[in-house]
Symmetry: C2
Subunit: 113 residues, 2 copies
DNA sequence: TTGACGCATTCCCATATCGGCATACGATAG
DNA sequence: CTATCGTATGCCGATATGGGAATGCGTCAA
């Protein structure tokens, strides 16, 4: 078995830096492929490929506009990512200087719930 | 070129479902490798490999405890992920029923710059 | 219709997985 | 010292990847 297909889920899709950059750019609005490619310093086929991945996981949508295809952001798929990471918030706020005692306390706290 | 090494950054590390499961388990406290492997239904070498990746991106740390090695969570590295995704919050809160018009407005706004 | 333009797809390569299996390694028990 | 337990690592195979180059294809302009 190899790595799961990047097109299989959002976490894989956003694992690639250039795809995150595309998403960031699209926050400012729709853009045609060539413009994205140029702004990110990648080839047109390269941009198309990344956009395809983003499309397949639903982070991006296309709209036909004559010769061009305008890609737009659909960030709803990022919400699960945000929530997943947020589930660890209380942990990164803790002091890790004494991880051992920290974990002990946590166990204790959980038992008191 | 292939995909960047998964050990290169946190986004890649958490792209793998089993690694996310490991992190989830570790929220309850430190655990030795074998226990993790058993709880996740994976082989010991498998667990060790995933733990290595998590270690290399700093999401996990080890503590020697006699024969065992206790792995503990260090969620600080997940904060950037949370914040990155959070940067899109206002977008997933938008109504996408009228995405077209929404984007139109946005595009228009860009042209007026 | 023909040509130019914008984009997607395909093929190829070098690489990085992930999983299984065997094995090496460090620490402890006897 | 030696056997054993708990882990880490090495090697293999099957697969997915990202990038480059070439190409297919639909749309619009002349």
């Amino acid at each position: 078995m190899a790595r799961a297909a990047t097109t299989s889920d959002v976490f894989n899709a956003i694992a690639e830096p250039q795809r995150r950059e595309i998403l960031a750019l699209l926050r400012a609005g729709e853009r045609p492929v060539t413009e994205l490619a140029h702004e990110l310093g990648m080839s047109q086929p390269g941009a198309s490929k990344h956009l395809r991945v983003l499309r397949e996981v639903g982070l991006v949508r296309v709209r036909e506009a004559g010769k061009q295809r305008l890609y737009g952001l659909d960030a709803r798929g990022l919400r699960p990512v945000h929530e997943w990471a947020g589930g660890f918030e209380r942990f990164w706020n803790e002091s890790f200087d004494r991880l051992d005692t920290y974990v002990q306390d946590l166990k204790q706290a959980r038992q008191e719930d």
